[in-house]
Amino acid sequence: MSSRLREQLEEALFPPIVALLVALICGDLLIMSYGQSPATVYRLLLEGTWGNAYGFGQVLYKATTLTFTGLAVSLGIRAGLFNVGAESQLAAGGFVAALLGLGLSPHLPGIIAIILCIIAAAFGGAIVGAIPGWLRVKFGAHEVIVTIMLNFIVLALLNYIVAARLHMPETLHTPEIHNGAIPRLDSFIPAFHGSAANLTIVLALITAGLAWFYMFRTKRGFELRAVGLQPDAAEYGGVSVGGVWMRAMILSGAIAGLGGVNYVLGYKQYYEEGFAGGSGFLGIAVALVGRNHPVGVVLAALFFATLSQGGLAIHAFVPKQMVEVLQGVVILAVAMSVPEVRAILRRSRKPVAA
């Protein structure tokens, strides 16, 4: 292993490891505050997630959405943009996919309908992503604030449309789509019976692969990372920073929008108010822990999905809200240890003056 690669790996892996240790200790304290034994609760958490097919299926389902939102956020960060809008991009993607699914004829071949609906989801997310991109490039409006504000605007708008025009009586969701449903995993592997895991997971892995290829193996991706590291230098080197930012926000929004496929086409077959349920915000955590690398994002998505499903498994002993505390602790600990680890490693690598 070359020493450069080793240095990169150390810088990438130490912060999540530190965070995991801190979270384990906090978890211990919370569990003991409830008068339970940490070992028992942690064992339950693992058994309820990776220990049985249903739990594992749920983990895969939750990890699928988080992979999309995590990829979306990390692509933005690689370009030097902080997309806090994955939540509304995800919702918009799911909404547009459901809208198309409602409009498509049931006689259309399923595979074509699915592909059309997937494109629609990406399109929905891309539009919501393009707005902050455009405002940033054109007016210099900071994308963090614009995406936060857009979350509220887009979600309110979608709620209005569903409430005023589209909802089924007595519910907050649309009717079921007529075409475009994605098969669940339990139709191939009966052991997954009852879990929401579906073939969208394949789309998530393909998207992760494509995101890796785009960022690390294409000229556009090289430009994107150059702008993320040093926008002024990239501009001087002939890269159009505005163009890169616009592309990055559209792509980021599109990837987040694809996440809507998992719920709308793969699980419920309808759009429901609030289905995003914080997955967009958790995408920030996934990107951070996954160190903005597609492989890391997939692993981090599995980790946060395990935590979230694990909360349900331990609920009889310790309130499931414990995992929400731990999520916050992990994000804080990673955010705090990234600059610290970098500084310590850099210091230790400096040749010692004789």
Binding site: L30, F139, A141, I145, I148, A156, L157, M322, G328
Partner: protein, 289 residues
Amino acid sequence: MNPISFLTQMLRISVPYLFAASGGVIAERAGIITLSLEGYMLTGAFAATLGTHYTGSPWIGLLSGIFGGLVFGMIHAVATIRYRANQVVTGIAINLLAIGVTRFFLKLAFASSSNSPRIEGFGGNNAWHGFDNPLLWMGLLVAPALGFVLYRTPFGLRVRAVGEHPEAAASLGIKVSFIQYVAVALSGMLAALGGVFLALDQHQFTDQMTAGRGFIAVAAVIFGRWDPVRAAIACLFFAFAETLQIQLQGTQIIPSQFVEMIPYLLTIIALAGVVGRAVPPAALGKTAE
């Protein structure tokens, strides 16, 4: 529409915004991005509920609410100042943490996942229309007071210097991180008071009772261009729109969802600079090495 009841309702809605926006202004003027107002408010509301529930005194509740905000403010301060963590990420993490912590301890303290039992509050004399609540008066006075501190005291001058040009401030002997610690601690305590008002006004804590008010305060800070008094005017305006929507409910002139969007739309417009560009403090978000 009764103008007196309209005004009192508007003021009651504006108080949490006024506290939280003042908290946002002081921390951001010291150069620390503060998206965690929502988390401070929620913690403040919960701590106030605990304090009032166990002692029966809303004044103790008020103090414990401030303490709750101080603790979360210090988490933000230590993470972003001592450890140079990304200020946006830290703010979002604090919001998530606040939701988790309040839910967990709501379950632990009151064995409920939705709300606390009824607690004492301030006032309650109907003839006073809520004006017998000291927190209402504090809320109305906090912005002018903060304006005085920022523009008329040596401490305020230091805060502004640190937020605009930390290197220059440091070269004049100002302890940059100390000023930032104080500003962020103040921001946590001020925003927490917004949550305290909510909990004592509704006489209980309910899960996620701040319901995005912290982000409306963030919007007010930007729309008010990081000035305490202008931010307060933005808060009053947002509260006015909300009151109008509540009073018009049933008439269905404008769907409530569109009224909800007003603060956020205005903030984006302000940032894009259509009517006078909103320019943040020069060193906002940049941590000194």
